[in-house]
């Protein structure tokens, strides 16, 4: 199914009106004429929403859109594009400048900019039925690997693919496997890290719920490569649906002898068991995760020795993230070269992002590495709702940093994000608009890391707590300039001296907001004002001259602090106001502001 060329012809009413039926007939005729019937097939679809450009035709897997296609154009498309792989430029859909003319602009972008590898089956197969996975070439990669390749070839293929760990660090997966394979021991382990702790990321859950077999298959491939016959999936008990579906998937794979003894008659045995975690953020760190599986308290330890040398129960262990593993079968089905050709030179393949926060289309999307943040947020994500202005995007969750408007055109890959002072992390993306206070955002993430710090090393245990105290003070309006200096110094110290990734990255949200939104911190400290109107102690809402006197705010105010008449500018009584912000949300013309009169912070000092 993956190899086939699909020619999708719009069968919406409008396109039928412009002879799309005849076009299909013509396609079928020419496909037969060129002997392409086994290669390509035509499909009539529902309306694409591009009715003005109809008849519309899309050729998959190239995702080439043709518009205004005439019956006479069909032969050229078949002979040039389908047969020779050269899209007919003349007929390709050109984005009109007036976007409003396209009925479903966002949806077109939503489809055309994505490339689904890790999510290939999510949302289109039944996760409870192994046959549906097999129907999508499932376990074919495992079969190929076991019957046709040596473990060394498997590792070389992984190295050639350039796949890097999707859990955060971005370490080359092939190298990781190589290290584990070189350790000599009778017993080795494969662990799937499904402890997705980053608030705002849910791609691992989606993969495990929607396509559990792809992870099982990849674990078996890894086991064969490194010489292990036992795998563990460490998953949080907070994901009951995923746990249940994994259990069913493992049992089904055993029934079909795709797990267990002597798989594909190759003499290779592989078993997978589940281990449930209690949902501690630190257990996403591999040494803490291993400690937790062993039944110990989930705390990291010093590296080296790396798990590839001494891991679970002191045996060599390979730990991979769910999304990384979901990519593995495709690497073997389509070849390392194909995988390497997607994305950028140093980060190949795709990345799944979980879009959340102030964004039109909350959800999951998968794009090739090198796509820009602007494309992800505005084209695929649909931009910011309620006509608010984009302010920043937080990538990498509590370990990442904020990225501002001027960096939006940076192509996303592991190295670029680190350069911007953030990180890929697991791929959570929280979008923030002008109503978000960056000091408050930093405080929120720090609050999370303070809660989740395991307490083993002092910089993380004590340092993050002190930083949080300072941020609390600033938000209450009691901050001083000295506080900002200490924040920076303390943050850098924690980064340099913490034991594990949690502590080393915990100050990132504070440091990056301090860098990019210093003016907001200064407003809190010097002017005692929260420009975004979030920190209630520092907020005064006022009505500007933009007010049209619609009385909406007046009706929405829970304490009756607003007075005014229809078509006259309203007034907020600061003594009655409880700073809930209900008026600001309800205002249709954005006339209520919490910014001081001379505020110019938007320029990001």
């Amino acid at each position: 199914m993956l190899e086939n060329i699909h020619i999708l012809i719009c069968g919406g009413t409008e396109c039928l009106g412009s002879k799309s039926k005849d076009i299909r007939f013509e396609f079928d005729r020419h496909l037969e004429k060129y002997g392409l019937l086994g290669e390509a097939k035509t499909v009539m679809t529902g309306c694409f929403g591009l009715c003005e450009s109809g008849p519309v035709i899309v050729v998959y897997p190239d995702e080439v859109f043709y518009s205004h296609v005439q019956v006479g154009d069909v032969e050229e498309i078949v002979s040039e594009h389908i047969l020779n792989g050269r899209p007919v430029e003349r007929l390709r859909f050109k984005e009109p400048i007036d976007y409003k003319k396209i009925k479903n602009y966002s949806e077109l972008k939503f489809y055309s900019k994505q490339k689904r590898i890790a999510l290939r089956n999510c949302g289109s197969i039944n996760p409870l039925d192994i046959l549906e996975y097999i129907g999508r070439d499932g376990y074919l990669a495992l079969g190929k690997v076991l019957t046709e390749m040596t473990p060394l070839e498997v590792i070389e293929t992984m190295k050639a693919s350039g796949l890097r760990g999707r859990g955060g660090g971005g370490f080359p997966t092939g190298l990781k496997w190589e290290f584990a394979s070189k350790s000599i021991d009778d017993q080795k382990y494969v662990i799937c890290n499904a402890d997705e702790g980053d608030p705002g990321a849910f791609m691992d859950r989606a993969i495990l719920e929607g396509d559990p077999h792809s992870v099982l298959e990849a674990m078996a491939i890894c086991g064969y490569a490194i010489g292990s016959n036992q795998g563990y999936i460490y998953i949080r008990a907070e994901y009951p649906v995923a746990v249940e579906r994994l259990r069913i998937a493992i049992n089904q794979a055993k029934e079909y002898d795709l797990l267990g003894k002597n798989i594909f008659n190759s003499g290779f045995d592989f078993e997978i068991e589940l281990r449930l975690g209690a949902g501690a953020f630190v257990c996403g760190e591999e040494t803490a995760l291993i400690a937790s599986i062993e039944g110990e308290r989930g705390m990291p330890r010093n590296k080296p020795p790396f798990p590839a040398v001494r891991g679970l129960w002191d045996h060599p262990t390979n730990v991979n993230n769910v999304e990384t593993l979901a990519n593995v079968p495709v690497v073997f089905l389509k070849g390392a070269k194909w995988f390497k050709s997607i994305g950028t030179a140093k980060s190949s393949g795709t990345k799944v992002f979980a879009l959340g926060g102030k964004i039109q289309n909350t959800g999951l999307l998968e794009v090739p590495m090198g796509t820009t943040l602007r494309e992800v947020i505005f084209d695929i994500g649909g931009g910011i709702p309620n006509k608010r202005k984009f302010k920043a995007v937080q990538t990498g969750g509590p370990s990442g940093g904020c990225i501002t408007e001027e960096s939006l055109d940076t192509p996303i890959d592991f190295d670029n994000l680190v350069q911007l002072g953030s990180m890929m992390g697991s791929g959570g993306m929280i979008v923030m608009d002008e109503d978000n206070c960056m000091v408050d955002v930093a405080r929120f993430y720090l609050d999370f890391t303070v809660e989740e710090s395991c307490g083993k090393c002092t910089p993380c245990r004590e340092g993050t707590k002190r930083m949080l105290d300072i941020l609390d003070r600033i938000c209450e309006g009691k901050g001083t300039m000295d506080d900002l200096r200490i924040l920076e110094k303390l943050g850098n110290m924690i980064k340099d001296t913490s034991l594990c990734g949690l502590g080393q990255t915990a100050p990132n949200p504070v440091l990056s907001t301090l860098k990019h939104f210093r003016s907001e911190y200064l407003a809190h400290v010097m002017d005692k004002v929260c420009p975004a109107g979030v920190c209630s102690n520092l907020t005064t809402f006022t009505v500007t001259d933009r007010c049209i006197g619609c009385t909406k705010c007046l009706k929405n105010c829970p304490v009756g602090a607003i007075t005014g008449k229809v078509k006259e500018k309203h007034l907020i009584n600061p003594d009655l106001c409880i700073r809930c912000g209900a008026c600001k949300v309800s205002c249709p013309v954005n006339a209520i502001t919490s910014k001081p009169v001379d505020w110019e912070g938007e320029q990001n000092v």
Partner: protein, 122 residues
């Protein structure tokens, strides 16, 4: 599984079943039952769908649950795939909408444009 050939045979058979090519006029309905879908009420929609199909004695309809397709903001999502390969993705499906979809689309053969993801997503 003892050989690659066995697997390929199984795959081809599974593929045929999934494409609903084996039944004339067969319809495959996928209900998004990831955590996002379940939280938005996909369980209710799925149950209602099964009840309605049974009550109206509809044949050749295969209802299955699938994972998250990424449009979490628009769950519950019900995707109707027909024999001709057309996909109709209904979003934010309530029980009341299920009744309409069964009546109009499954029985009447007319997809309800206004409930489609493409229409709701602006």
């Amino acid at each position: 599984m003892k050989s690659l050939e066995d697997l390929k045979k199984l795959r081809d058979e599974a593929k045929r079943n999934m494409n609903m090519r084996h039944i004339k006029g067969g319809i495959r309905i996928q209900v998004g039952m990831g955590t996002c879908g379940i939280a938005a009420g996909a369980g209710l929609a799925l149950k209602r769908l099964m009840d309605e199909i049974e009550e109206n004695n509809l044949k050749n309809i295969f209802v299955t649950q699938v994972g998250c397709m990424g449009e979490c903001a628009f769950e519950p999502i019900v995707e109707v795939i027909e024999e001709n390969g057309s996909h109709s993705i209904y979003c934010q499906v309530s029980e009341r909408m299920v009744d309409e979809i069964v009546e109009e689309h499954l029985m009447g053969g007319r997809p309800i444009e206004k409930y489609l993801l493409s229409a709701r997503k602006r």
